[in-house]
């Protein structure tokens, strides 16, 4: 995946996103618009949904990074070049499977609930991280790697001090993509009983209550933008300090 360009690097948008989310939450709780919406739009319930959504995203993303990074490093080793090629293709095909299908497949095999959602999100966010880790390490110029070997650096030192630092911006971009996609996919987790902001959206669509629908849409969109921006800042920081 290509580098994504970051434009804004300040904390201002972060405050804006968080402030916007809080303001939206307060507005919708205070003006539910209908008795049906009022049943769902309480501070307690919104907090639960937020915790579920953020929980799903954070846990699955961490797990995905923890598995995809070593795997990506492994398949980038010259000895496993063939495996890397094969896995790269598998990943490319895997990414054409829609997120809802991954949720649905995990659900039909593993059953309902939070853990299934985590599994599906983990599986789906493995792909961009794996691909970018592999691509990032492969893209290290051969001359640089050869210089490191020629100077007598040990293989794991080359990995830590040369390959990973050089691949980091690309890896970071993969993580960023994965997390943003995760926030979106987590809205679908409500279909399999795992909660999250998708609950508000689906209920809103079901009973045609605009307040419900909008609250879910706005909160999940703001969460996605917040994640994107925060990771963009990390990416930028890494790029300038490395």
């Amino acid at each position: 995946m290509a580098h994504r360009r970051t434009r804004v690097k300040s904390w201002l948008p972060v405050l804006l996103f968080i402030g916007g989310a809080v303001a939206a939450a307060v507005y919708f709780v205070e003006n539910p618009g209908s008795a049906m919406a009022a049943r769902v739009l309480t501070y307690d319930h919104l907090a639960t949904l937020a915790a579920q959504h953020v929980g799903m995203v954070v846990i699955s993303s961490l797990l995905a990074a923890a598995t995809a990074l070593p795997l990506g490093i492994l398949i980038s080793r010259p000895r496993l070049r063939l495996l890397g090629l094969v896995l790269e293709n598998l990943v490319n095909i895997g990414q054409t499977i829609p997120s809802i299908a991954v949720i649905a497949l995990s659900f039909t095999v593993l059953g309902l609930g939070f853990n299934t959602a985590i599994f599906a999100l983990w599986l789906y966010s493995l792909l961009p991280i794996l691909r970018n880790t592999y691509a990032g390490i492969i893209s290290v110029p051969p001359g640089v790697r050869e210089a490191a070997v020629g100077m007598g650096m040990r293989p794991w030192r080359i990995l830590l001090r040369v390959e990973l630092p050089l691949a980091f911006p690309i890896i970071m971009a993969g993580i960023r993509t994965a997390v943003v996609v995760n926030v979106g996919t987590a809205t679908l987790a409500t279909f399999i009983g795992a909660g999250g902001f998708g609950h508000l959206i689906v209920t809103g669509i079901m009973v045609r209550r605009l307040q419900l629908l909008l609250s879910g849409c706005i909160l999940s969109a703001l969460l996605a933008m917040l994640c994107d921006h925060l990771l963009g800042m990390v990416e930028e920081k890494v790029k300038t300090s490395a």
Partner: protein, 321 residues
Amino acid sequence: MKRVMSKYGIIWLISLLLLLPLLSGCSGGQAAQAPGAIDKWVFATDHEFSVRPDGLPELLKFYGFEFDEVRIMDLGVTYGALKDGQVAAAMGFATDGRIAAFDLVNLEDDKNFFPVYNPAPVVRKDFLDRYPELEELLGRLSPLLDTETMISLNAQVDVENKDPKEVARQWLLEQGLIREEASAPTKGKIVVGSKEFTEQLILGAITIQVLADAGFEAVDSTGLAGSEVVRKALTGGEIDVYWEYTGTAWLVHLGHDDPLTDSEECYNLVKEEDLARYNLVWLAYAPFDNTYTIMMRKADADALGIKTISDLARVINEGKN
């Protein structure tokens, strides 16, 4: 290099196609626990039931009990969740084919909380005026659709995995309501809508095929999400006909707070008010009552001696004390 890549791509796509169906064999169920051994009362509901005025919140208040946990999921998933033991009780629809197939029981609504939900085709008045033969055509269907029929039709789709359209066609042919070969459309265009669950899909498919057989150009717009969505589509002219339930119209669309428990009464009141207020015509209603139901596994219900929702409320409340 590029050629190698694309070759690998094709090889892996093929193996993926072969592999996935194999994988599909390993979907396993949970180990069943001892009947009646329920330590946590988890209830499964869909999104709509969880907030409707005649839904879960009022039901709990009405019968005076609380579940330990309520899990909200996609409609239709509740049956499987209950069957697999992931929840102790679940909401569903009384005519769903899976109730019998999964060894579940409907708990009797002994205090008459749930309103009646008899379905009938609904059309706009101006549209009916244009095609008055619709009244006769669709009115013929309703009396044939009793509860047993509907459960069996539903089961064919949900349990036997048949296509709703095929199930509808088979039934219509058996009943002699349509001919084997449909004639080319000679009359106007009718857009048929439905909600997204199985029964609605079957009713939609039945309607489409009857209309097509009668020479209309029947357009399939079935499978829309939620009552209000379909209703808006009808009033807005995006669809021309769909099957709505009397109880849903009374409580949701007409905004009444008092559920009606008599089929005849409810139908007449709804028919009258909808025509006056929204210019919608209700054609003849079907005898089956697809009301909401609260279900448990048969084994659990038997072991705990639960037959009615009051029994359930008592058992749960006793467990808490």
